[in-house]
């Protein structure tokens, strides 16, 4: 309820000021535009540094770095929860693992099908298991029963069931210590880059406290990026860039989408929560509370590749992007959990509680309100401020000054356009250089996408949480317009 109240009251105050105190509202708009400029600059510095790290880490020989570290005891458990995605989506992800430089004989794969998706999903999993299973240390198909009391149908309940099945079928029979098992919880379309497992293993073995850490790769949506429509591309890279910025601010980082964690920690926490939408970020909060605040996310600065959100039609894509971002921004549901847990766990240091609570509240408040203030509500005084306001120098200067700040902030977008080209896989032969130009020009859409696909879904989610109109888990459809190749970023 709190995020919704904060966001709606911010917008309401802004609108009320525009009518009754337009001068004050205009001052706020100018100050806010300046804040946006400097915030963009601050984030851009982080993004640029992270880009350099990612490119560096992609070039680095992680196997060589592991040479002097004992790592033969490490088992990678990769779980692919899925719903009704087609065989090709799942198969590509498995091929990605096999094409990586890590020995598959130390990797266990769990294909987590759901009963509610029907026999076809099970058949898909079994087909993949049959085709690729023997190349792995183990490959199990789990079949999450529907209708288990206390569960919400969705990824959280499915992947938790799969993790427990993996313990029962793979780890315990072989007496593998949970501390030696690194679980990669992947979305079904996650294709690893060649050194993902090496990079992850190195970070796990060198982490200050590996059993009190989750490991976060950068989700790039490169699988189908060249085939995705313009809106999908902008949103995909915007999401990736946000994660890259967060990677340089680990104190603000929570797990998101595909992530990794030791089986020890996972088992201690009772796996992912089964009755919520945002199980990917909630697991971090579960673990933070479970270990009395002694838990962190280690940024890998190494990517995994996933699908940009694409539907067969333009409007279908628009709808899917909206629904996907509504699901992501529904992560505001964590706030109530965090505050409740913080209130009831005196062992977590107060400063840590305050810091995390502030970061979370500020994050969801700003994503829902800032774009709307900057690109819509902030200009209201000009239209509703009345004759007296319209005859002031301030009303004439408001658009000029605010626009100047926002135009300068657009330099951040220009930088983003450049950065995206570094991370993009090689252009397929069927596209001309014009497509490259479009990949740059697409960033002009950001002011629109920020409002339509970030702020509005954010407000939508927060209102739902306020009113108790809770969301179920919406499965992002994975549509493959053309088959993918293992992604490789462009060389610097």
């Amino acid at each position: 309820m709190l995020p919704g109240i904060l966001s709606l009251s911010t917008l309401a105050i802004f609108i009320a000021l525009s009518f009754w105190k337009p001068v004050f509202a205009a001052y706020l708009t100018i100050a806010f535009s300046a804040y946006w400029l400097f915030k963009t600059a601050y984030l851009s510095i982080h993004l640029r540094h992270n880009l350099k790290r990612v490119l560096h880490n992609l070039e680095l020989d992680w196997d060589k770095r592991l040479e002097n570290i004992s790592h033969s005891h490490i088992v990678h458990l990769v779980i692919f929860p899925f719903y009704d995605e087609e065989y090709e989506v799942l198969a590509e992800s498995i091929r990605g693992i096999l094409a990586s430089r890590w020995d598959p004989s130390t990797i266990a794969v769990v294909l987590a099908a759901e009963e509610r998706a029907g026999e076809r999903a099970l058949a898909t999993a079994k087909k993949v298991q049959q085709e690729f299973g023997q190349r792995f240390f183990a490959c199990e198909v789990t079949y999450h029963p529907s209708g288990i009391p206390g569960e919400m149908p969705g990824k959280g309940s499915n992947i938790s069931y799969a993790a427990e099945e993996a313990r029962r079928l793979i780890l315990d029979p072989r007496s593998i210590p949970y501390e030696n098992v690194l679980v990669s919880a992947f979305d079904v379309d996650t294709v690893v880059y060649p050194q993902y497992f090496s990079c992850l293993t190195w970070h796990y073995l060198t982490a200050e406290n590996p059993l009190r850490s989750s490991f976060q790769p950068i989700p790039l949506y490169n699988n189908n990026i060249w085939h995705a429509p313009i809106l999908a591309r902008v949103m995909a890279y915007s999401s990736s860039f946000w994660q890259m910025v967060q990677q340089e601010r680990p104190e603000k980082l929570a797990t998101f989408s595909s992530h990794a964690v030791s089986f020890r920690a996972l088992h201690d926490a009772g796996y992912w929560q089964r009755n919520i939408v945002s199980e990917d970020s909630r697991i971090f909060w579960n673990l933070l509370v479970r270990y009395d605040g002694d838990y962190q996310v280690v940024p890998l600065a190494y990517p995994v590749s996933m699908d940009a959100n694409v539907a067969p039609t333009f409007w279908g894509t628009v709808k899917n992007i909206y629904l996907q971002h509504r699901r992501w921004t529904y992560g505001a549901e964590n706030i109530a959990y965090i505050l409740f847990a913080f209130l009831h766990n005196p062992r977590i240091p107060l400063t840590k509680k305050l810091r995390f609570a502030f970061f979370q509240l500020e994050g969801f408040w700003s994503l829902a309100t800032h774009p709307i203030i900057l690109f819509a509500v902030g200009w209201l005084p000009l239209f509703v401020g009345g004759d007296a306001f319209n005859s002031t120098v301030l009303s004439h200067n408001l658009p000029t000054i605010a626009r100047a700040f926002l135009t300068l902030a657009m330099l951040g977008l220009v930088a983003s356009a450049g950065y995206s080209m570094y991370l993009m896989p090689k252009r397929p032969a069927e596209y001309t250089r014009f497509k490259n130009a479009m990949m740059i020009a697409q960033w002009l859409l950001v002011p629109i996408t920020m409002v339509v696909f970030t702020a509005i879904p954010g407000i939508d989610s927060q209102i739902r949480l306020m009113l108790g109109r809770y969301l179920g888990f919406w499965v992002t459809p994975k549509v493959r317009i053309t088959p993918i190749k293992i992604p490789a970023p462009a060389k610097v």
Partner: protein, 276 residues
Amino acid sequence: MMRPLSPRRRRFYLFALTALFFISVPAALLYSSGYRYKSGFGLVKTGGIYLSVPYDDAVVSMNGEEIGTTRFLNKSFYIDDLAPSMYAVHVEREGDHPWYRTLVVEPQLVTRAEVVLIPESPEVIRLTRGGTTGSTTRSLSATLYDSYLKAFATAATSTEIRKSGTTLAATIVGGDVYVHWTDEERVPQDNFCAKPSSCVQSFLVEDGPQNSYSVSFFGEGVVYATRQGGIFFSEIDVRRTPVSVALYPRANADVRVVDDRLIIKDGNALYQIESF
């Protein structure tokens, strides 16, 4: 191996950008409110002039200095950074009466004016009931012609018009033409204000020796008929010097505005003055 941004560097960036924010915001707020630094005077509050010139190729000057020429896509001028004072604005275009206005600029306020250019020789066309259209005559259907004639059957000593969300009224009292700002809830527009902070509800548009007997709103002003001098157009503006020109200088002619057309009746004949 490349390390993440160190907390120290991050703190440096944060402090540097925060400092820039706290420096730039007050500066931006002062600037946007009209504050300017003037050598010898320190920080002074300035005002501005917003001039709307809905014509192409009009040359705009202020205090004798040319500011610019209007073009198809550039028909307004915002002149800011003006010290509070009086400014003589002059707009001229070939073939039109020049437009002069003395505008008072006050601190932190914008003085607005809309330029009205009247042709030096407005085209007068005689209207006929049927017949043929020539270079100085226009043939109208009997119905239309009769509707124009009918408009003159009733007196026009007062009129109202809805403009910019408010109602303006024009009345003739003792042979003089007054315009009124009827909406007491709203601050009058700039043309009712000698300076932005000092506005009137009504003022005289024509107070000369001539006796007016009919008045109508037309374009950005009023047209009125006088017993001595014929038909006049005057701009509605309390500031000096509003445009006032004789459109049809023949005594006892009368005028009406019908369907936005300026119709003149002189004896039994009807004329139309082309729009401007």
